[in-house]
């Protein structure tokens, strides 16, 4: 398994960026990337729920706020793949099976060192950049509604 590298942070970053990007964005870039790895699902894709917890007053004891739909998938790369047997996982809010499967597939492929470099630079980095751009625009739209207080000078 020397060709597999498994530092945990890049996995967490990939999972986050892929879960926050739209499935269409991922599919377009993934197709361009051209990594082809036959795989099969070993768990799911299946849709269920995650119970979301809040905190009293934002910082205090946890409480159960309510649930959201969540889809998960786990895939294994088939024998012909350079990282045969690599197991990948993916989770995403909502009910999109293909989205969860893609995240799991990317996770599995990224266990191949050379692929991981390409995935991080040609898939994850641009998606992250697009995410930051759209977030920055939303933040500027909110910022435009910020109140500038001024004091009226009344007579002496």
């Amino acid at each position: 398994m020397t060709h597999l590298h498994d530092p945990s942070r890049p996995r967490v970053r990939r999972q986050r960026v892929l879960a926050l990007s739209s499935r269409e964005q991922i599919e377009t870039r993934w197709d361009t990337l051209g990594i082809r790895a036959a795989h099969r699902c070993v768990r799911g894709p299946e849709t269920g729920m995650a119970m979301l917890r809040g905190r009293m007053g934002g910082t205090g004891r946890a409480f159960n706020l309510g649930e959201m739909t969540l889809t998960r998938a786990s895939v294994v790369l088939d024998d012909e793949a350079p990282t045969a047997g690599a197991l990948g996982h993916g989770w995403v809010r909502g009910r999109d099976h293909r989205h969860a499967e893609l995240i799991a597939l990317v996770d599995a492929c990224a266990q191949h060192e050379a692929w991981a470099r390409r995935i991080d630079s040609e898939l994850i980095a641009p998606l992250e950049e697009a995410l930051e751009l759209s977030r920055a625009l939303a933040a500027r739209e909110a910022a435009a509604t910020r109140v500038d207080f001024f004091t009226l000078v009344r007579g002496e």
Binding site: M49, A50, G54, R61, G66, M68, H89, W91, R140, A143
Partner: protein, 368 residues
């Protein structure tokens, strides 16, 4: 006598067909699409997600369409769907301090880090019908500011250097879950907040309002209200750490209320808390008022108003349960009613007999 009867299958089938026809409306008009509801009736969608206690905007929009806009019916549909799904995970507690702010205001501190950000609000609109929306026109895009938004930290903890406001601390306890263990009164604050979060907005609004009118007064100030997106993390066993699985929109209200204190503790402002899915500001204000009212006992206050009576408030807050029990009155009660009729007839016979006996016993003119 009552004889069991069956029937109505055809009537029911035709009633459903009629309902579908009326829901569709005039065929000359384009059919309303679910993604239009999802995109353009966002606050209705958010309310349905909140009260159904399931965050899924597409399904909430579908429920609204299916229910012809009847919000309580839509909540019922989504709540029923919820029961078909397995629970795959429990999230890490959402950190509203890291929220991507769309709106954030404070009614208690004017100058706050990040500022007063009005966001997409109906406040300050004149509540005049906008006839331009009747005409087909292009809506201009939002105007982005030149500067990005400055960080907006949670201000209650930040600005209260003197410790005049009660602090909320995590003691690491596992919260009750009313979807797994039905509430056994009295319930703790975690269970109360879970029930309020899915409670009917109109009901909570009325109860919150009642505290302001004097039925359990607690002198509230809106310390901070925020609306925006928060990332959801779940802990993954395989990786030994929490991963982000997406974002949810949340509304949050931090209410500051009048003093608690005791012989041992100095007087302090106390707090009420409201948190809800989506853009649901009024709901969170009402929830925070009621949360604070329900802390009466804990804070040594006399329970005077309906909003302070936990079992009364919580047992009637869920509109799926409430509408279910009220609506069951529409089901056939032929046998029940028949037995009531029998009883009433017997009572009347007894009454008539009594009256008859009285007449016979009464002295007649002759006997005088």
């Amino acid at each position: 006598m009552y004889v069991a009867v069956k029937g109505g299958e055809l009537a029911i089938a035709n009633a459903h067909r009629l309902l579908a026809d009326r829901r569709r409306g005039d065929r000359e008009q384009a059919e309303l699409e679910v993604d239009q509801i999802q995109g353009q009736l966002r606050l209705a969608v958010d309310r349905v997600m909140s009260e159904a206690s399931l965050y899924d905007s597409e399904l909430a929009a579908l429920a609204i369409k299916q229910a012809s806009g009847d919000m309580i019916e839509a909540v019922f549909l989504l709540r029923a769907y919820r029961t078909t799904l397995p629970r795959l995970a429990v999230s890490e507690p959402l950190d509203t301090g890291t929220m991507r702010i769309e709106r954030r205001i404070s009614a208690t501190y004017k100058d706050i880090p990040g500022g007063q950000v009005l966001g997409p609000t109906y406040d300050y609109t004149h509540r005049l019908l906008d006839f331009l929306l009747l005409a087909e026109g292009e809506t201009p895009a939002a105007e982005p500011g030149e500067q990005p938004l400055a960080p907006c930290p949670q201000i209650l903890e930040l600005l209260d250097a003197e410790g005049l406001i009660e602090r909320e601390r995590d003691d690491g306890s596992e919260p009750a879950d009313i979807t797994r263990d039905p509430p056994d009164y009295p319930v703790d604050r975690a269970a109360r907040l879970q029930m309020l979060a899915r409670g009917d907005e109109g009901y909570l609004l009325a109860l919150g309002y009642s505290t302001q009118r004097g039925y359990g007064r607690n002198h509230p100030f809106a310390g901070e209200i925020r609306l925006g997106q928060v990332e959801v993390e779940i802990f993954v066993e395989e990786w030994g750490e929490a991963v982000c699985v997406g974002e949810v929109a949340l509304s949050e209200c931090q209410m500051i209320n009048q003093f608690g204190g005791s012989r041992e503790a100095a007087p302090q402002f106390t707090r009420g808390y409201g948190l809800a899915f989506g853009h649901n500001e009024r709901k969170t204000l009402a929830m925070a008022l009621v949360d604070r009212a329900l802390r009466a006992e804990e804070l040594g206050e006399e329970v005077q108003g309906p909003a302070q009576q936990a079992e009364f408030v919580l047992a009637h807050a869920d509109n799926v349960e409430a509408s279910g029990f009220v609506s069951h009155l529409k089901l056939p009660h032929y046998v029940d009613f028949q037995s009531e009729l029998e009883l009433l007839r017997r009572l009347r016979r007894e009454y008539e007999n009594r009256m008859h006996d009285k007449e016979e016993d009464a002295p007649t003119e002759d006997s005088l």
